[in-house]
Symmetry: C2
Subunit: 506 residues, 2 copies
């Protein structure tokens, strides 16, 4: 394993920038052992103290010279551009602060107290329940958001907030960025007085597999491809003690145009669709890969014209993604998609050509390649003849992270009906918003039915992201003084609680 | 499949009482299709209306002639006795009412609303999130609680409460009881105006496998053996669309006696232990299979004397359980356990001999048969030399549903320390209570780390049991009138909600 290394490439030129040796198995073991030692200390720390650690990382990330170093490395490695990347650093810092706030608010602990009741038959004992941290979490982040879904992204932030040490794997698409982020976090945590072992990274493919197999690792969070997520899920299922794998994977994210929407604003919708499926060179797990539009409003032509006018240019993240994109586009063609128009890409580095395709409704079957994700800047457009055909197409689609409805306004009668049709498919349904933005808020759900995620009840963004890294424990007839602090009658952590079935603020 | 049948035996004599033909695959398909048709209707029904359906079943169960018929059938099939069984019918009715109340209270929907915020960068859209029912749930209940964990038990009640139609499998250990329960529920639901297909049963081993494989089934709840639960979990993992399997399986449920506890009340603890491990002939998933006691207080002898004095008598539930018990006791002997005393069983039907064994601490390793469940009336006693040996033994134990601490009272200094040691192992930790009772309350947790359950974050008893059958969906920028009713601004379902991060009562 010492022979392998993560190679940092310049995405724009394809030239090698640096090599980072892979972690040895002994190194992985040592990092996991340190995290396991930290776990009970972290779990016993009040969430307000953990929130301070997250704020320390966030503040360190936003130091101007740090931002400059991070953005320079990430821009070379990903070609996503300085504007997007500096915005993403700011978002990442704010995410860390958001999860800190969720932890400090304390309702994620779900403290629930039932007094003993001797009037019941049989008499009920006193019960006190809370969610406890699972222990060490392995985080395998995404290629496409080096900051927001990287080694300090949503998964790491929510796991730390929930009281779990994190061992993250550096992403091979941006190894230098990963390493810089880890250095920032580790020194901020030391300065903030956090326990050693709270956060660490490892490098290399085999180190990732070793992490998932390590007995002291209690959960895995992954953002990436279907193939990668499924491989980790299978690996975890073979452990002696099976652990949850929260894999959030790429999906088709269908967008449906209503008749009134097409009538009132077909051009705007076409331009918006092109903007969304080419944003970040189409490298979003929420990219709208399929536009369903009513026949008779010329959406295919309008999308082609919008793409030709916009002429988006750029590079893909890695050589592997570039070649998978080329192969995927070939598969779409062979499955019955016809080109509407193509924007010629450059030929340096991992450049690629954005592309709009049209697909006859009849070609969309549940087993077709057309109803699977193609990662990269390609968008399909299909026209439906009537509501029955529209619903038949929706019935062929797989579980997806997000779905969108492009309507003709608040009075559009199709919207409620489409919400009902799309809800069983999706973790999030948007109206007149493209799905590519995923706000980190209390009400966010970034997940979705199989195979968009391995655990459809989980979310990887938003307040409920913490729940993935905890499990409930009930204490029965335990004397108050012996209970964990969050359950004690005096409420020393000042938590909101459910007492005898009634929600009681802190 | 039409050749096979569930055979109702008299457990006390082993004689055949009746045969119930297994469902054909066509029958399973028809039942699942009816449930799938009901699913959207049930999901759209306000939880207060669903609560009325559950109350209708509960009331029907408690009609005196119904109780008499149910108890007579169950007593013949299980030999659990009329007192226990009529209490269990009452408990089952009250469970149905409890889950009805949890549904009506509405916080299980986790309604969360975030207003749009244009001051953020990028601007945040309006988000509205709630938990939606998964769809049809397959319930495979337990042999040992024909009512409380049977076809109308906790799993069915919580799935119906959460808005999911249920297809339950009749248990082959009590097929007549299962059928009677289904008849009671079906006629009560018709009278209450519930949709057709809301609840139905199927019979036979192959029907159970067909249920788990059926594309329209969205989740599986199982209570029973490790082997059965793991088989269903593997079956579901092979589906094209993998679904969650909530398997709650038998475990060792260790009980630890503190030094002060042994000093003050060794005899009482020994008698309590015997009472708990022989209750219901040891056929509880929460049976305390292992007592860890400090050396020097004669706990092995006291347990032997208590067993000899109590002389519990009875029958096991099935011929299969009786032969597995005999085989399991043999395995415990070969793994190093020595008999303390045995109560001779009868020889009619599925009778069995309650048994106390002693095991040297050194024999308890993580790979030993001694640290696995043996279903039936056998209890192991191990003496530990000191705290280090006590903790070493705890370190060898598997994940378990419950653990108990037998202390010397509220001032016992060992309790807090033992709670910390036992929490990573267990879903519930009791002090001076034996673990065999599982109250259905808001704060209950009936689950536990792998391999006690397949989903350690889930509970099969208590208010949070509903969560297993829902997943969250977020709606983004959806006009108020098009939102599902629970998310609308006027709050027509009068739900508690989290609004802009702040919990707001109904």
């Amino acid at each position: 394993m010492s022979e392998s290394a993560d190679i940092s490439y310049d995405a724009r030129t394809g030239t090698e920038r640096a090599r980072f040796p892979a972690s040895t198995l002994a190194e992985v073991d040592a990092v996991v052992a340190a995290a396991a030692t930290a776990a009970p200390l972290v779990a016993a720390t009040p969430p307000t103290d953990r929130a301070a650690w997250l704020h320390a990382i966030a503040d360190a990330l936003e130091a101007p010279d740090t931002v400059a170093r991070l953005v320079a490395a990430a821009d070379a490695e990903t070609a996503l551009g300085e504007v997007r990347l500096s915005g993403e650093v700011a978002r990442t810092a704010n995410q860390l602060r958001f999860y800190a706030g969720v932890a400090a608010e304390g309702s994620y602990l779900a403290v629930t107290l039932d007094a003993a009741d001797s009037t019941l038959a049989p008499p009920a004992p006193a019960l006190a329940r809370l969610r406890v941290p699972l222990g060490v979490v392995a985080v395998l982040g995404a290629s496409n958001f080096p900051f927001a879904f990287g080694v300090l992204g949503n998964d790491t932030a929510s796991a730390l907030a929930a009281g779990c040490p994190v061992v993250a794997k550096a992403h091979p698409a941006h190894p230098e960025t990963s390493r810089l982020l880890a250095e920032v976090a580790e020194s901020a945590l030391v300065a903030a007085g956090a326990p050693l072992g709270l956060f660490e990274i490892v490098s290399g493919f085999e180190a990732g597999a070793a992490l998932v197999a390590a007995p002291a690792v209690s959960a895995v969070a992954f953002t990436g491809s279907q193939r990668g997520g499924m491989a980790l899920w299978r690996l975890a299922a073979e452990r002696e003690v099976v652990i949850p794998v929260y894999a959030e994977m790429g999906t088709v994210n269908p967008a449906v145009v209503t008749v009134l929407g097409a009538e009132l604003r077909a051009e705007e919708i076409a331009a918006g669709y092109v903007g969304s499926f080419t944003l970040g060179m189409g490298q979003f797990c929420t990219k709208p890969g399929l536009l369903l539009a009513p026949v008779g409003y010329d959406l295919p032509r309008l999308v082609a014209e919008a793409l030709a006018a916009a002429r988006p240019q750029g590079w893909l993240l890695t050589e592997g993604i570039a070649s998978a994109y080329a192969a995927g586009v070939g598969e779409l063609h062979r499955a019955g998609a016809a080109p509407l128009t193509e924007v010629t890409g450059g030929d340096a580095g991992w450049s690629a050509a954005p592309l709009a395709l049209t697909v006859p409704a009849a070609a969309l079957t549940s087993t077709s390649r057309l109803t699977e994700e193609c990662f990269g800047p390609v968008g399909l457009v299909t026209e439906y003849a009537d509501r029955a055909e529209r619903d038949a197409i929706i019935g062929t689609l797989q579980g997806t992270l997000a779905a969108s409805i492009m309507s003709g306004g608040d009075a559009d009668p199709e919207v409620a009906d489409l919400l009902t049709a799309l809800t069983p498919l999706a973790g999030r349904v948007a109206v007149n918003d493209w799905p590519t933005g995923v706000a980190f808020r209390w009400a966010q759900q970034h997940g979705g039915p199989w195979p968009s995620t391995t655990v459809p009840a989980a979310t990887s963004v938003g307040a409920a992201a913490l729940d993935r890294f905890t499990r409930p424990v009930a204490y029965q007839s335990v004397p108050d003084a012996a209970l964990p602090a969050p359950l004690q009658g005096a409420n020393p952590w000042r938590l909101p609680r459910r007492i005898d079935g009634v929600w009681t603020p802190a």
